[in-house]
């Protein structure tokens, strides 16, 4: 029998996907939390859809070639994809650091940050699926079906979603480490999170931004996690290669940054002894 080398890629993948599977089961078990999270997200989405519906009806025209349906679906994509993001790992790491349980995990045979990202995936997937199932029919009733997409554009958007998830993981993992450096890093999280919120197009689609703000959203790392929201823009087909390139650049930059930061953090880490 052929023995696998310990620590092979396949073993690593199996180990981390097992973590996702366990967290997924746990998330499904806490139904109250799941329902309330999805409920509030859907509510927010419906409210925004109604606001845009009213605003467009009041205005009676399109803005920058974006009509009501496109605007609402762009925002909807943001709110649905929010569950594929890694915002929660910040608070998880903060809480583990405060409780002192971090040291136990740092000594386990896995990469702590990768563990947290895969754990977060398990938390996000049920929310994402339920949100998709609930939000899409509601939005179709409210503003009509989304603009039609060619299979190629759909694949491009999927690619941007996957890369956006990786950018998000790298950014939030990086800022999560700040918890181990300063007394209270929550404000750092707020600032980054709100930058992603605005430049990602949570409240207003990027295509409706003034030109300078659009450039900022395109080139900053905070717009990159949510590039997939641009899928319904008229010039998406021309824009997506540069969007993908930006995402790849930010993935590389933030992974390198996080890796260096993680090594430095391990050296200065003070354990609470919890």
């Amino acid at each position: 029998m052929k023995h696998k080398k310990p620590g092979s890629v396949r073993q690593h993948i199996a180990k981390y996907t097992a973590i996702t599977a366990v967290t997924l089961k746990e998330t499904l078990y806490h139904r109250n939390k799941l329902i309330s999270t999805v409920f509030i997200s859907t509510f927010r989405l419906i409210m925004l859809a109604l606001i845009y519906k009213y605003a467009y009806a009041y205005l009676g025209t399109t803005i920058n070639g974006i009509d009501q349906t496109t605007a609402v679906w762009s925002i909807a994509i943001y709110h649905i994809l929010l569950f594929t993001q890694f915002r929660s790992i910040f608070r998880t790491i903060k809480s583990e650091h405060q409780k002192g349980s971090l040291e136990v995990q740092l000594n386990k045979p896995y990469n702590y940050l990768v563990y947290k990202c895969f754990e977060q995936l398990g938390k996000g997937i049920p929310n994402l699926v339920i949100n998709l199932v609930i939000s899409i029919p509601i939005l179709i009733v409210l503003v009509g079906p989304p603009p039609a997409l060619t299979p190629l554009l759909a694949v491009s958007a999927l690619l941007l979603t996957i890369c956006g998830t990786l950018v998000s993981a790298a950014i939030y993992a990086c800022i999560s480490l700040t918890n181990l450096w300063i007394e209270d890093a929550e404000p750092v999280f707020w600032i980054v999170d709100k930058a992603v919120l605005i430049l990602g197009g949570a409240y207003i689609p990027i295509a409706l931004f003034p030109p300078r703000a659009q450039t900022a959203a395109h080139f900053s790392p905070f717009g990159a996690p949510m590039f997939a929201t641009k899928i319904f823009n008229p010039n998406f087909a021309y824009e997506w290669p540069s969007l993908l390139l930006m995402q790849v650049v930010w993935i590389v930059v933030f992974i390198l940054l996080t890796h260096t930061y993680y090594k430095a953090t391990q050296k200065v880490l003070a354990i609470n002894g919890g």
Binding site: N32, K33, I35, S36, T37, F39, I40, F43, R44, M47, L50, I51, Y54, A55, Y58, L59, I63, I182, E183, D184, E186, P187, V188, W190, I191, D193, K194, A195, L197, I198, A202, Y203, I204, L208, F209, P210, A213
Partner: protein, 276 residues
């Protein structure tokens, strides 16, 4: 004679309750400010955090222009008022955030032993440090709004008269939402969601709420009374709106008290052992 004695006793009791609550709030704020660096970081961070929402809605206003008389200035006033209301409520009455979890984990027992008003004791349980940042942000934004619109003294008074009931509605709605945990087990998340509906909606420009939506968010979930109605009271004074906001504040105060009385009747001790 009896009425006069009752009035005197009631007023004395009320004054004593307020004195105790004031002392607790003062202590809460002192302890929040104790860790200087963390405090400044939280307050400063919250100001930046809130500015993000302001930017988002200003971008919206830039794209759509004025909707039903709601333009950039109204949005600035709205964000300022909501920030101030949120800040005041969670700085002075941060306990509303703790009630549901206290009922859920059984640590509510200790509050029942309070010799003073249970309602005020719950409200003054804690101070949310970041809320001080919200309060400062709200004040700063309202000053900007005041300068932009050359606000008069009488309008400033009207604004204050509208913000006070908005705070009463906000606190009592959040309180009522938290009392859900008395009636439904493990309802911490649910009560949070109910509160989020109020907060989320309060931040949206009031001009986009018309017809049935306006009715729902005024009289069922009083979100428009937290920000939009106070803005409308200041920008286009209406005695009807000012009167309405005070009546709604009274209604939500009574509802919160009623919910607490009924909730406590249903509460079963969690038998949680702890030292205080």
């Amino acid at each position: 004679m009896k009425v006069r004695r009752f009035k005197r006793t009631f007023l004395k009791e009320l004054a004593a309750e307020i004195k105790v609550a004031r002392y607790i709030i003062y202590t809460n704020i002192l302890s929040a400010v104790q860790l200087r660096f963390a405090f400044f970081l939280q307050a400063g961070g919250m100001i930046i955090n809130n500015t993000a929402f302001l930017i988002a809605w200003l971008l919206f206003s830039n794209a759509f222009g004025s909707i039903n008389g709601w333009g950039a200035q109204e949005i600035i006033a709205l964000q300022g008022i909501v920030g101030l209301v949120y800040g005041i409520c969670f700085t002075f009455f941060g306990g509303i955030d703790e009630l549901a979890s206290k009922v859920n984990n059984g640590s509510f027992d200790s509050l029942l032993l309070t010799p003073r008003s249970l309602y005020l004791r719950i409200l003054t349980l804690t101070t949310k440090t970041s809320a001080i940042g919200d309060m400062i942000y709200g004040l700063l934004i309202l000053i900007v709004f005041g300068i932009q619109t050359n606000i008069t003294f009488s309008n400033t008074l009207i604004l204050i008269l509208a913000i006070i009931p908005a705070c009463i509605i906000f606190v009592n709605f959040a309180f009522t939402a938290a009392t859900v945990s008395f009636f439904i087990p493990d309802a911490h998340e649910l009560s949070r969601s109910i509160f989020d509906i109020l907060l989320t909606t309060a931040m949206y420009p009031g001009g986009t709420f018309q017809g049935i939506m306006r009715f729902i968010f005024m009289f069922i979930v009083p979100a428009l009374f937290i920000g939009s109605i106070p803005v409308e009271i200041v920008t286009q004074f209406s005695l009807y709106n000012l009167l309405a906001i005070w009546i709604i504040a009274l209604v939500w105060f009574l509802l919160a008290r009623l919910a607490l009385i009924n909730g406590v009747k249903r509460y079963e001790s969690g038998n949680m052992i702890g030292a205080r």
